[in-house]
């Protein structure tokens, strides 16, 4: 079962290492991990998708919370949340009709971000299952290369995760 854990962390060297250590030590498998800046200088935001049961997710959160560089943490599993994933997919256009590809693009709200002689690169954004679905439609056409950002997520509604002083 996937848990989406959001953490606000101090933007300091070694913090990613400390976070990763919690997962490594207990041999938890990370589905995806993204890090980026926030509006507040010195604070980064991590979204970690973890395939685990409820107990393990609770353990992970307890250990992450304990890290000195972790400012705030929450599991979005049990709250309404918006989640997005982005993929760039380079699809072969050799040997089949470009129109076939364009139809997929049209029907799935994908964007063409680059095109070469043999390939076309698409950007797909959406809920992770949507991205999965588009990719599976592109597979028969021949995916040459693909990259996904991993999921980012945020609570719905007016509640915001902020890094407050303890």
């Amino acid at each position: 079962m996937n848990h989406t854990i959001v953490a606000l962390v101090e933007d300091k060297p070694g913090v990613l290492n400390r976070v990763a250590l919690v997962f490594r030590r207990r041999a938890f498998n990370i589905e995806s991990l993204t890090v980026g800046r926030t509006t507040e200088p010195g604070v980064s935001r991590m979204t970690i998708v973890l395939d685990s049961d409820q107990t393990s997710a609770e353990r992970v959160i307890a250990y992450l919370y304990k890290l000195v560089n972790v400012l705030q943490i929450e599991d979005l599993k049990s709250v309404p949340a918006v989640a997005r994933d982005l993929a760039l997919v380079k699809v072969s256009v050799a040997g089949h009709d470009r129109a076939q590809l364009l139809r997929v693009v049209d029907e799935t709200r994908a964007h063409i971000v680059d095109s070469g002689e043999q390939t076309m690169t698409l950007e797909i954004t959406g809920e992770p299952p949507h991205v999965d679905a588009v990719i599976s439609r592109l597979e028969p056409l021949g995916i040459i290369e693909m990259v996904r950002t991993g999921q980012v997520a945020m609570r719905r509604g007016d509640t915001a995760l902020t890094a407050q002083y303890a």
Binding site: V9, N17, R18, L21, E58, Y65, K66, V68, V70, A166
Partner: protein, 584 residues
């Protein structure tokens, strides 16, 4: 352009990084450090001579981290260990891991190669912050002189607050050499992501009170958190108020006086049989600053099956880790008990206490005190005699193994911080250096290192440190010619196939004498009183080689992972006694 010396304007507070380190330590109240010099920490050592610091030169950096540990545990402050980069730093690792497992506040300061060489495999370079990441509460790599003070201040704050633990500060040589205009910042440390203490939530306190009201068979599980929170008085009052028996963890020993009528003794693998039975039959466990280690629970699936659990711990990650709590209070133990004392009723658990008392008749499972003197020397006799002769007032530091468990069983601790032992990591070699550290923290106290012949030899070189420092530690080597606890496991679980456990040791008396120390030997029980008395009365560190029964075992024993009440008991009649001379 010719190289010209740039003269900085003379400012009153211009300091090198090296000086800054010592000024910070002095401000933190440090008077004693344990260390070993080397290239990358040399600037700091040079500056040290100008500060009121006692430096204890160890013989191996592992000794430094264990001494800092023993110093912190005995004195209740923060212990400091210093080492150079590379091998100096890696040698600290065992002591750091020991302190982490037992939540001991130590600060380790290591030199690091100059910052421009980091990552270039420079001579004696090692990534010590990386190596110690999983075994420190936190760590710092300091490459700029102006970061030294914040790092050291935060290190001390982290080490001693909340759940204590080891913190490492790795400081590059160039940061030690650089100068800056410096002033001590007296402001308390404020760290965004660090929340050492939380307030006990009212709802959980209410739940706990309800559970206590409903309970007929409570047991308090008293852990090391009692010592760390200074909650000895509150625990005693609380136990008396709710009239609950108190079972001790190994590290909790001394937190409640052994002689207190409600203290029923140690729990766990080598705990008292009646204590483990009481836990298995209890309807409520009140866990005070303990973490349900596998050595105290045995098989978790069958652990205390009838009991509700109230868990009070300062570390939220301990809650629901091994045992699910019915009431979970993440807060300082002393504060929590003070609040609870306002809320709980006076209870009477006379029948339950009487029932547990009746199980004490079962003491034959381990008690060889009552066995006649057959001329042989048994380790429990030795330890019990040391307890009697020191009137239970010594600080005892143990190593790890059989003697450690016998110490816990036969030396009855009345005072907190009077037993210092590596519980979580089980570090052989801990005893002697930790005893030296303990003596430094409590020079007024009588300190005994009770060690085995195996563990003693791991850090035996520190005898030389004790001799150089001119301190008095009494070292009792419980010498059975085996790695005794492993031999015991081989006896019980590996068909007595003694793989690599017979141990031939040097003449320990001569080892002591080679250090200019008094060495004594006891081979019969009738020797013990006189030898122990001689050791206590002699000046300086004394080593006693106690030649004890070779194949004695610690009873009772709950095999690893077995149900807590499935204990191996001392065979009756004891084979050991049968092999001896006629009882006197």
């Amino acid at each position: 352009m010719s190289p010209q010396q740039c003269t900085l304007p003379v400012m009153p507070n211009l300091r090198t990084g090296a000086q800054t380190i010592w000024e910070c330590l002095v401000h933190e109240g440090v008077t004693t450090v344990f260390g070993y010099p080397g290239g990358a920490i040399l600037p700091a050592y040079d500056a040290m001579l100008d500060y009121p610091i006692r430096h204890v030169l160890v013989r191996h950096e592992q000794g430094a981290s264990h001494m800092a540990d023993g110093y912190a545990r005995a004195g209740g402050g923060v212990g400091v260990a210093i080492a150079t980069s590379g091998p100096g730093a890696t040698n600290l690792v065992t002591g750091i891991a020991t302190a982490q497992m037992d939540s001991v506040p130590i600060v380790c300061i290591t030199g690091q190669v100059p910052s421009h060489l980091i990552g270039y495999d420079a001579f004696q370079e090692t990534d010590i912050t990386g190596i110690t990441l999983p075994i420190t509460k936190h760590s710092y790599l300091v490459t700029r002189v102006e970061d030294i003070m914040p790092a050291i201040k935060e290190a001390f704050h982290l080490a001693k607050s909340g759940r204590p633990g080891p913190v490492l500060v790795d400081i590059t040589k160039d940061a030690q050499q650089a100068k800056h205009d410096w002033e001590w910042d007296p402001q308390p440390v404020k760290m965004r992501g660090y929340r050492p203490v939380q307030a006990a939530p009212r709802s959980e306190l209410d739940k706990a009170v309800e559970l206590i009201r409903a309970s007929r068979k409570p047991v308090i599980l008293a852990g090391q958190g009692i010592l760390q929170s200074n909650a000895m008085r509150e625990v005693k009052l609380f136990a008396e108020r709710i009239n609950s028996p108190v079972a001790m963890t190994l590290l909790g020993l001394g937190g409640v006086p052994a002689s207190h009528p409600l203290n029923i003794g140690m729990m766990g693998m080598h705990g008292e049989s009646w204590v483990n039975h009481a836990i298995q039959e209890a309807d409520l466990l009140l866990a005070f600053g303990m973490r349900f280690d596998d050595r105290v629970t045995g098989n978790l699936k069958t652990y205390a099956p009838h009991a509700k659990k109230i868990h009070i711990d300062i570390d939220p990650s301990e809650i629901n880790k091994n045992v699910i709590a019915d009431a979970a209070i993440v807060a300082d133990l002393r504060e929590t008990l003070r609040e609870l004392l306002e809320m709980v009723p006076t209870c009477d658990h006379g029948p339950w206490l009487k029932y547990i008392g009746s199980m004490k008749g079962d003491s034959a499972v381990r008690d060889i005190q009552k066995l006649p003197d057959n001329g042989h020397l048994y380790a429990p006799h030795v330890i019990n005699d040391i307890w009697r002769l020191t009137e239970g007032k010594a600080i005892v530091v143990t190593d790890v193994g059989q003697h450690q468990m016998w110490e816990a069983q036969y030396y009855h601790h009345e005072e907190p911080r009077s037993l210092i032992t590596s519980g979580g990591l089980g570090t052989m070699g801990f005893g002697l250096p930790a005893a030296i550290g303990a003596k430094m923290a409590r020079p007024d106290a009588e300190v005994w290192a009770i060690v085995g012949d195996g563990g003693f030899q791991m850090t035996q070189a520190e005898l030389s440190t004790a001799a150089q420092e001119g301190i008095k530690v009494n070292v009792a080597v419980i010498n059975n010619g085996f790695l005794g606890m492993v031999r015991q496991w081989q006896e019980f679980f590996y068909e007595r196939r003694y793989a690599a456990t017979p141990l031939r040791s040097p003449d320990f008396v001569k080892i002591a004498e080679a250090h200019g120390l008094l060495g004594l030997r006891a081979e019969k029980r009738s020797d013990v009183d006189e030898i122990v008395t001689r050791a206590r009365e002699a000046d300086g560190t004394v080593l006693i080689d106690f030649r004890v029964e070779q194949e004695d075992s610690v009873y009772p024993m709950v095999p690893a992972g077995a149900d807590l009440d499935a204990m191996i008991r001392r065979p009756q009649p004891s084979v050991l006694v049968e092999t001896g001379a006629d009882p006197i």
